[in-house]
């Protein structure tokens, strides 16, 4: 603390944060109403006042690696009570968005993901890939069977193509996995690199601001802490402390659990295909199918609720591209997923494949751009909360 801090405001940083939904940040007059109002800010060095000040001074180094910005759940109590309309909740959201692009390599990709102008370029990538794969599946079936071996190629119950309409008859599940498995490895790698820097920065910042007593991070202990944090996240314990828009936690919970449900479904199907040689689609009576359907419906309802809440809160909360991008994605994934199934059952191959095509593109969006989009908060927030717990954030 006694060490002198060299102040070097970064005007570009201020512009960037303002552009990411923090346009009100310069309105702060440091009264600290936000820190008092925040139901989850700790007593020692509470947020978001210090972040507001640092942001208005353009002190990037104090913010990007600051774990506190991730402890905020943007419930909006501070923004509603702010006497100057500085909306600290939105500024912190913008800072998180900035931090995500800062840690996710390559940065150029991060920039594109958060730039509405680049949306179609980013969409074109999976669109072209999946179009090619569809053509190969539908018109080069025997050729493919030759390469992969007949039985394996189809991934069906009996080793033959599924009779009637099936997603795998449009784009082979082989192809889908050939895309998504490497993509998953890529995503994990990007996160791994990002997190390494993130944790190091977060620790440095905590030491500098006197938020922790721990000198070094013990990896094993850190991971053990994750065990106590995950149930808290599952229960949305922080979220439910909000006064201003508590109902948001329900919607968020629905979306989170849908994704978990769909993750389980995907994993089971993956095991089924590669180890039990069971192809898709599953029977409607299969419990896995039930889980998939329940999750899909919950995803849509949760997404719609979130959109509604954002529209209702136009005055108090800024909704920027990054927010609509993610919500759009959630709804598209849920919507096209359900529609694919319904049109399949309804017997329209054209509709079914069209929806599936869009579904795959949107899932690609979600996956490939995960480390760069707002969705990355699932990782950063979890890590930051774990760190706060581990480091005994005072």
């Amino acid at each position: 603390m006694s060490e002198k801090y060299m102040v070097e405001p970064d005007l570009q940083f201020i512009d960037d944060v303002m552009g990411l939904g923090g346009e009100s940040l310069k309105k702060c007059f440091q009264c600290a109403t936000c820190s008092v109002a925040c139901p989850i800010a700790p007593e020692n060095k509470p947020f978001p006042r210090k972040e507001m000040i640092a942001a208005s001074w353009g002190l990037k180094d104090k913010l990007v690696g600051n774990g506190d910005i991730w402890l905020c759940h943007q419930c909006g109590d501070c923004s509603t009570l702010c006497p100057r309309g500085a909306k600290p909740g939105d500024v912190l959201a913008a800072l998180r968005s900035y931090a995500i692009t800062e840690y996710a390599q390559p940065k150029a990709l991060g920039k594109m993901v958060n730039d509405p102008k680049k949306f179609w370029t980013l969409t074109a990538v999976p669109a072209v890939i999946f179009a090619l794969l569809a053509i190969m599946t539908m018109f080069g079936g025997s050729f493919m069977a030759g390469i992969f071996g007949g039985e394996l190629w189809y991934h069906t119950h009996d080793g033959n193509p599924f009779p009637g309409i099936a997603a795998s008859n449009f784009i082979s599940s082989w192809f889908v996995d050939m895309i998504f498995v490497p993509l998953a490895i890529f995503v994990v790698t990007v996160f791994a690199i990002g997190l390494k820097n993130f944790i190091a920065d977060m620790h440095k910042n905590a030491l500098l601001e006197g938020k922790t007593a721990k000198e070094k991070i013990d990896v094993k202990e850190f991971l053990m802490t994750l065990k106590t944090v995950l149930p808290k996240i599952a229960k949305h314990r922080q979220f439910t402390q909000c006064g201003e828009n508590r109902e948001r936690s329900t919607a968020h919970m629905m979306v989170l659990f849908s994704f978990i449900g769909l993750f389980i479904v995907t994993s089971v199907v993956f095991v089924g295909v590669y180890f039990l040689h069971q192809g898709t689609p599953y029977s409607q009576l299969n419990p896995i199918k039930w889980l998939a359907n329940v999750s899909g419906v919950a995803l849509i309802i949760g997404g719609v609720l979130m959109v509604k809440q954002r529209l209702d809160k136009k005055e108090d909360q800024v909704s920027s591209y990054k927010d609509w991008y993610l919500l759009g994605l959630v709804l598209t994934i849920g919507g096209t997923g359900m529609l694919t199934q319904m049109s399949r059952l309804g017997g329209s191959a054209f509709l079914c494949y069209t929806f599936y095509y869009v579904h795959l593109i949107s899932v690609f969006h979600l996956f490939a751009y995960l480390p760069y989009s707002k969705m990355a908060h699932i990782v950063y927030r979890t890590v930051a909360m774990t760190y706060a717990e581990y480091a005994e954030r005072k």
Binding site: E3, P9, L11, I14, G58
Partner: protein, 777 residues
């Protein structure tokens, strides 16, 4: 004046219920005058009733009804003297019939039953009649050489606005400016803070248009390169001598004897005659205040808008702030730099892109700002920060403050400036400005950033304040015996002011009104508004002088102090004590009154040991007679005679507080007789001595707070009385009386909830002291 007296007792508003009205009327008739009773004197019918009597020749009316503070417009009869006996607030509402019940049927005829409240009411009507006997209808003082010209000192924004406003109201105005150019500081700035709409950003200085307006106005005469040598005379007939700055002329104003020359080698204060010798010596070669310049120009009122100068920075004291380094400058120097063009470093002429504005010196000064800094300094820092941003797209301006003062709507300016992404504001204490070989490094602690910080700077700007012109120089140069400036009462830091809140524009000299930065540091917008107010005050003073009435705070009062010079001992007490310098004594020491300078507070009357000063309706005799008409019972009357306590109450704040207390039915002990006075400064100790020698048991004075937060309408009244009370104590002791029998209390106008306890506490104390041993002699 041949007086025909009558007392009118009103029985409305609870008076009739509380008192035996018949017996009150008997007391009023004791001197053989008539007394009439009415159920509601303030009603239309009641007023008609009074008017009929006035038409039939009654010209001295004692109206025993409500407080003099209400219905004053109703009970006004031209050519009559009117006294208001407060039976409602003073008796019925403020003395408790629960604690002091009226006599029962059996007690009615009991000679030894003491009805204290009845006694009080009877005393009050006697006092009313006694006062009427001693007062006359005032005749206003008329000036011989009356004129209506207004003198404005200072040709800056304030002075020019005042001139234009006064000229528009039809008055001839002369503006005197010591510089060769009009416009003052405002003409030398790059931009100014917007006026009214703060979202407009910085605007071009408005002063240019104002100069054109003033110069083209036929009612305005402008004298550039000129100062006031002296202002002699009094409001309505000032005689002003002008001169070139620095010139020495016969009619230069005489100076007062400095404080340090008023004592001998042993530190004992010199007497008035010795001081006069020094006075004559230091003013040798200058015409006396009483001699009038035959070539002087006539004026009636003065607006003092002499403005300010930038405060200086003590290089030694603030060495740690880098004072002395070429790139550490004051906000004043920065403004000059900015007016010249893009902001560059004075040391090497390179662009100054990183500028730190330091608002407070920090270190030993704690959270204090630089001297004479205030809200304007904060506003200027915000404005100048914007200059940096206007000049350089990548410029950064930092403001480190202890106080960011943007009162009222000025907050909008702060909000506006704050939006600039290159302007950084933080509270903090600067610890050092170091030279890092070319660039400067500003270190600060206790900032909002949570750390001790260092900021790299190309240029550092220190926020010096605005020193009022009157700090260095009287400027007005009044040819008054008390001295050429406003008396320094030690709490205004050189500002030309007489009261922080209550009386804006008012100085301690009637007819001279200050406006703008000479009064307190102000922005151009504030100065403009201030100038209008001061111009109106000057007009009000002129017109009041013309009518022969007081202007402030006793607006409309037609009385003025009258001196019975044959008995004057030339002690100069009145000249010394007058808070407004209204009296100029001549070589012998006889005071020369200047009635239009006077505010009618009566301080001279309170000061005069010979008791030769009085007003038509307020004098030593009128109050003295009221006190003497109080019946003081002794052992001859009762075995245990009730006490009598006199309260001399300031009518500006204490009396309203008492009336409010009465309205709340907060009761006061009926031993207490209240006599309102114009100001405690007007209380002559003879009244206290008389009261005690006639057997009254105690005397208290109720006046305004004094000291740094004084509330006295006449600046010094309650403080002077405090000194007199203190001196009185010694006299009492020599008479064998306890000095505790005389006490002074401070009360504010809103202390209605405390004032009763204050008085009742005093009564208890007197009760414990026992009756006055002189009773009955």
């Amino acid at each position: 004046m041949d007086k025909k007296y009558c007392t009118y007792i009103c029985t409305g508003c609870g008076i009739g219920e509380a008192l035996n009205i018949e017996k009150v009327a008997e007391a009023a008739k004791e001197k053989g005058y008539d007394c009439k009773i009415h159920s509601c004197l303030c009603s239309e019918e009641g007023v008609e009733f009074l008017k009929k009597d006035v038409a039939e020749g009654i010209n001295a009316l004692s109206i025993a009804a409500c407080s003099r503070r209400v219905n004053f417009d109703i009970f006004r009869f031209d050519g009559c003297v009117v006294d208001r006996v407060s039976l409602r607030e003073g008796v019925a509402w403020s003395r408790s019939r629960v604690d002091f019940p009226a006599p029962t049927e059996e007690q009615k005829d009991d000679e030894y039953f003491i009805d204290n409240i009845q006694h009080l009411a009877e005393d009050y009507v006697r006092m009313g009649v006694a006062r009427l006997e001693k007062i006359t209808v005032p005749v206003p003082y008329k000036l011989e050489n009356f004129n209506r010209n207004i003198l404005v000192i200072g040709g800056g924004v304030t002075g020019l606005t005042a001139a234009v406003e006064a000229a528009d109201a039809g008055y001839n105005v002369t503006v005197v400016e010591k510089e060769e150019e009009l416009g003052g500081y405002a003409a030398k700035m790059r931009k100014q803070i917007p006026m009214g709409d703060y979202s407009k950003g910085l605007v071009d200085p408005v002063v240019g248009k104002l100069i054109e307006k003033a110069e083209s106005n036929s009612k305005i005469t402008i004298k550039k390169g000129t100062v006031v040598a002296r202002i002699a005379g009094q409001p309505g007939e000032f005689v002003v001598t002008f001169k070139k700055p620095g010139e020495k002329i016969e009619f230069d104003v005489p100076m007062a004897v400095p404080e340090d020359q008023r004592y001998d080698e042993k530190g004992n204060p010199l007497d008035v005659d010795q001081i006069r010798v020094i006075y004559d010596k230091i003013n040798e070669g200058r015409a006396d205040v009483l001699s009038i310049d035959p070539n002087g120009e006539p004026f009636a009122g003065v607006v003092l808008a002499a403005g300010w100068r930038p405060a200086e920075i003590d290089a030694e004291k603030y060495a740690y702030l880098g004072v002395g380094n070429k790139d550490v400058i004051t906000n004043h120097e920065f403004e000059q730099l900015a007016a010249k063009g893009k902001i560059v470093r004075p040391s090497d002429g390179k662009p100054a892109k990183n500028v730190v504005f330091i608002q407070s010196p920090g270190m030993e000064e704690g959270d204090a700002d630089f001297e004479y800094a205030g809200s304007v300094t904060s506003m200027v820092a915000l404005k100048q920060a914007k200059y940096v941003r206007d000049d350089y797209a990548d410029g950064k301006a930092y403001v480190i403050y202890q106080h960011m003062r943007t009162p009222g709507l000025m907050e909008d300016f702060y909000k506006e400036i704050q939006q600039d992404r290159g302007i950084f504001l933080t509270k903090g204490a600067v610890t050092e400005v170091a030279d890092n070989g070319g660039t400067l490094a500003v270190s600060a602690e206790g900032t909002l950033l949570g750390n001790d910080v260092t900021i790299k700077a190309d240029l550092v700007v220190l926020a010096t304040g605005m020193v009022p012109a009157t700090k260095d120089n009287p400027v007005v140069n009044l040819a008054y015996r008390q001295g050429p400036g406003f008396r320094d009462i030690g709490i205004f830091d050189g500002y030309a002011d007489s009261n922080f809140i209550c009386f804006p524009y008012e100085t301690q000299r009637t007819g001279v009104y200050s406006a703008g930065a000479v009064r307190r540091s102000m922005t151009i917008e504030e100065s403009t508004e201030d100038a209008r107010g001061a111009a109106l005050k000057a007009i009000q003073a002129i017109e009041s002088a013309n009518r022969g009435t007081a202007v402030h705070p006793r607006s409309g009062d037609m009385t003025f102090p009258d001196f019975f010079f044959q008995r004057c001992t030339q002690c100069k007490r009145c000249t010394e004590e007058c808070p407004f310098g209204a009296l100029d004594d001549d070589a012998k020491g006889t005071p020369k009154p200047n009635p239009t300078r006077c505010r009618r507070c009566g301080t001279c009357m309170g000061a005069c040991p010979e008791r030769i000063i009085g007003f038509a309706d307020y004098n030593i005799d009128s109050i003295g007679s009221m006190i003497k008409s109080i019946w003081v019972p002794s052992d001859f009357d009762y075995d245990e005679p009730p006490l009598r306590i006199l309260g001399l109450v300031c009518e500006n704040d204490a009396l309203p507080a008492l009336d409010m207390a009465a309205l709340h039915r907060n009761s006061i002990h009926p031993y207490v007789r209240i006599v309102p006075v114009r100001c405690l400064g007007s209380v002559n100790v003879i009244w206290i001595k008389d009261a005690l020698s006639q057997g009254m048991d105690g005397v208290f004075m109720l006046g305004c707070k004094h000291g740094d937060d004084y509330q006295c309408h006449f600046v010094k009244g309650s403080e002077l009385m405090d000194v007199r009370t203190y001196k009185m104590g010694e006299t009492l002791m020599s008479l064998g009386l306890e000095e505790e029998r005389v006490e002074q209390f401070e009360v504010a106008i809103d202390d209605y909830d405390k004032v009763s306890d204050m008085i009742n506490g005093f009564v208890e104390k007197i009760e414990s002291l026992g009756p006055n041993p002189f009773k009955g002699f």
